[in-house]
């Protein structure tokens, strides 16, 4: 569905995304996770055909996205993290605007969404709360009935209730239309709740990309209660190590069943695993990588 091979995007002398190879299957709800500037927005924008790759190839729904690919424009829904809405428009006018510009527009579904969320069609967009504006922006994106949704931090800066409403709206759409979703987020709890595929980015590179179930099955926490320098057996990759006064705890990737009585073995949660990869990527910040477009907002 979304397939990148050695994909790269260069901004002047720095890379926004580099050597990105991944393949997100159809029907998934995939999360892009990583610090600001790690390449999430760059990847989404290239997927939507808003930016051209500088290296490698990208295929979305079997085509290479570019600003001229009209067919993809209809099949892909992109939501920018700035949620561009015309603030002086009424909600109903935004809907009509969407209908005129999209042949596959589903007006009934859009109106139902907004009714469920108690957002009046008469309201001016600028008078709605941040949460309601996010709902309207997502509703407009869903009403196109795209096969693929590319959402850049769709739930950022929302209060917990608005956030949950928004995620449920999205999941209902996935249940009804079997759309595929790629969304970027900083909320690891959301990833665990709704995503079945995770891509972790650090320093403009992909450091982890797989099914959540596979990720959870192939990682363990090994701990040992002394200060010896016992090294884990071969076949194990240490992702992150934490020292405490009483011992060490390692988050590791295990491709084969692990059995060693000296180590205590626990199953980490998806959040713990993703966090370990993020931590591993973070200490080497050296400023060589540009900020994403997103960092300009705040």
């Amino acid at each position: 569905m979304l397939e990148a091979v050695n994909l790269g995007k260069r901004y002047r002398r720095t890379w926004g995304l580099q050597d990105c190879t991944l393949k997100i299957p159809k029907g998934r709800v995939a999360a892009l996770v990583g610090p600001n500037g790690s390449g999430k927005s760059t990847l989404l924008r290239m997927g939507a055909g808003l930016q051209e790759p500088s290296a490698g190839t990208l295929r979305v729904l079997g085509q290479s996205p570019s600003p001229g690919t009209n067919d993809l424009r209809e099949r892909v829904g992109y939501l920018d993290q700035d949620r561009p809405l015309y603030k002086s428009f009424r909600v109903a006018e935004m809907l009509r605007f969407g209908e005129m510009n999209n042949p596959t527009w589903n007006m009934d579904a859009a109106k139902n969404h907004l009714a469920l969320l108690d957002i009046p069609l008469r309201s001016r967009v600028g008078n709605l709360s941040g949460g309601q504006q996010a709902q309207v922006a997502l509703t407009l994106c869903l009403a196109k009935q795209p096969e693929l949704l590319l959402l850049d931090e769709p739930a950022a800066a929302l209060d917990p209730v608005a956030r949950e409403d928004l995620l449920r709206l999205l999941m209902r759409q996935v249940a009804d239309s079997e759309s595929s979703v790629v969304l970027s987020t900083h909320a690891l709890s959301d990833v665990a709740a709704i995503c079945d595929y995770v891509v972790v980015l650090a320093h403009a590179r992909v450091v982890l990309s797989n099914d959540t179930e596979y990720i959870v099955e192939t990682h363990r926490i090994l701990s040992i209660v002394d200060d010896s320098d016992l090294v884990p057996p071969p076949g194990i990759t240490v992702i992150n190590e934490q020292q405490s006064a009483r011992g060490r705890s390692l988050l590791v990737r295990v491709e084969l069943p692990f059995n060693d009585e000296r180590w205590r073995v626990d199953r980490p949660t998806l959040e713990e695993i993703v966090m370990a990869y993020l931590r591993e990527g973070s200490p080497h910040r050296d400023g060589r990588h540009v900020g994403e477009i997103e960092s300009g907002a705040r």
Binding site: V174, D190, A193, E213
Partner: protein, 135 residues
């Protein structure tokens, strides 16, 4: 949704269990406790997605697993229903009972002040001592 008010799913992000496993366990518990009976309909995927924030693929996955375990059956165009064939029912019910028993044991051991490692050690010993017992 009033069709199946007896079953409300919950997800515990701290459990360490995959979300689909949590749904499977909750249906099994509901079956072993008698809350769900033979022929009862499970909530539709859309209802579950409306009820809790979860990926519909995860619900499909859980229902497939329940079908695989012989506890549920998908009927085309109708939904997923509990089916307790005689050969399966006692086994499924028993599994639930043991799961509860182990759960209670862990809670009691913790209340008594035992730490996780000690509880594991006790379990390991018990398994080792009874390793050759087969019925």
């Amino acid at each position: 949704m009033s069709q199946h008010p007896s079953l409300t799913f919950r997800l515990d992000p701290q459990s360490g269990l995959a979300p689909y496993r949590q749904l499977v366990d909750q249906v099994r518990h509901a079956v072993s406790s008698g809350l769900l009976r033979d022929g009862d309909q499970l909530p539709s995927v859309r209802d579950v997605v409306t009820q809790i924030t979860i990926n519909p693929n995860t619900v499909h996955r859980a229902y497939r697993e329940l079908e695989h375990q012989g506890i549920a059956e998908g009927r085309a165009g109708l939904g997923t229903f509990i089916t307790l064939h005689l050969s399966v029912a006692p086994d499924a019910a028993e599994h639930g009972i043991f799961e509860h028993a182990v759960h209670d044991l862990v809670i009691n051991a913790r209340r008594a002040g035992l730490n996780e490692e000690t509880i594991r050690e006790l379990m390991r010993n018990a398994l080792r001592q009874n390793g050759n017992v087969r019925s």
